[in-house]
Symmetry: C2
């Protein structure tokens, strides 16, 4: 069947692993980029967290070029990221802001750069924002700043002459709470029926990858909410 190929940036995390497994199951070749390897991936590009942004970019671009050998991919999905709170008076405000920018902005920008080089015309670049960061985030300022930068990246990439290939789309998912093992562990008593199943994200990505007519408008920030087990996508 399909001989499609996708890159998952953050493919060892909870959401990334789910996406990777789902695309594998649907016949795709999957390249994982993460701090550690995912054995299910066809190939792995390891990120050295001690390197700076430009060094990480160079290393990832070199490994991707060597792994892809001139072939192009149908999708580049960036689900790397993290969370840390804190207002501006928090002792760790700058430390956490730094971590958030490294986890979300560095990965998203490198994913965008990969897409300019390896994404097929008409392909899909997916980034990960945050519903909360569409408005002010006084209690988690570093996180909000990093995600606001990702949102800006996404809307800019959707414009003419952004560097993305012709007819490609950039879609940014803004999850509220994902139904992951870790979240269940830390919030055992929460209403899990309001959490978004990872399968909903994977299925949406596959649909957008295979049927470009099913995609929301390029540049859209897509809030993903779930109620009573039903997930809904709402462009912001």
């Amino acid at each position: 069947m399909s001989s499609g190929k996708v890159i998952v940036y953050g493919g060892k995390g909870a959401l990334g692993s789910a996406i990777l497994d789902f695309f594998k199951k649907n016949g795709y070749t999957v390249l994982n980029i993460d701090l550690s390897a995912n054995d299910q991936a066809d190939s792995n590009i390891l990120v050295d967290g001690n390197k700076n942004w430009v060094e990480q970019e160079q290393s990832i671009l070199e490994q991707a070029a060597s792994s892809l050998q001139g072939s192009q991919v149908d999708g580049v999905f960036c689900v790397a990221g993290g969370w840390a709170g804190g207002s501006a008076s928090s002792k760790d405000f700058v430390k956490n802001a730094d971590l958030m920018i490294k986890q979300s902005v560095w990965s998203s920008a490198i994913a965008a750069k990969l897409a300019t080089t390896h994404l097929k015309p008409g392909g899909l670049l997916q980034l990960t924002g945050a519903a909360a960061a569409v408005g002010p985030t006084p209690g988690m300022i570093g996180y909000g700043m990093a995600k606001a930068a990702v949102h800006h990246l996404a809307t800019s990439l959707a414009e003419k002459d952004s560097g993305l290939p012709e007819n490609s789309s950039v879609l940014t998912i803004l999850p509220v709470t994902l139904d992951t093992e870790m979240n269940r562990k830390w919030m055992p008593k929460a209403d899990h029926s309001s959490w978004t199943p990872l399968s909903f994200i994977s299925e949406s990505l596959l649909k957008w990858t295979t049927e470009s007519s099913s995609r929301p408008t390029s540049g859209a920030l897509l809030k993903i909410t779930t109620a009573n087990g039903e997930s809904t996508i709402t462009p912001q």
Copy 2:
């Protein structure tokens, strides 16, 4: 007269020097924070550009505490920043994005942190955004991402429990083109009557510092345009 005190972050640059001189002339004690000293300042805190964000923060906070000796300031003005272009396919995309985040986001966040510690209740924190970054910036994505993060920081700081002192304001100026020597050198044939004089910014800051009733709503992003030598402030 006034025994006011302000901090200018970036007080050795063109705009920062103009603000520093103007506040000095109006009787203020001025603390400059920059890569190099401004001899007109009452004291200087030097930033080591080779240090990382957390190290810069620690060094600046220590020097500010030692310089201020428990006294509080009326204003913290952050006019540090820079500009670099490039779409996502530009060779220097990540390198320039990194520089933009260091120049604009690092300085703005440290200025915010200083304000949480040293700004008087009712004082003024001023940040510097960019009119262009209110919308997509495909041709200068790194710059736009960094300024979008600053805009998010500003709107978050204006909210309750952001960490800023009681009744203080955070105002973000969004200049289009400033009338600086450097801009005149590089764009000698441009219409200089559409450039904003540095004195307009300095005078606005002094007014907002001394008359809190003259301030726009805290959190506002203030686009500053100039036509035929007349400058106008338009909240975005």
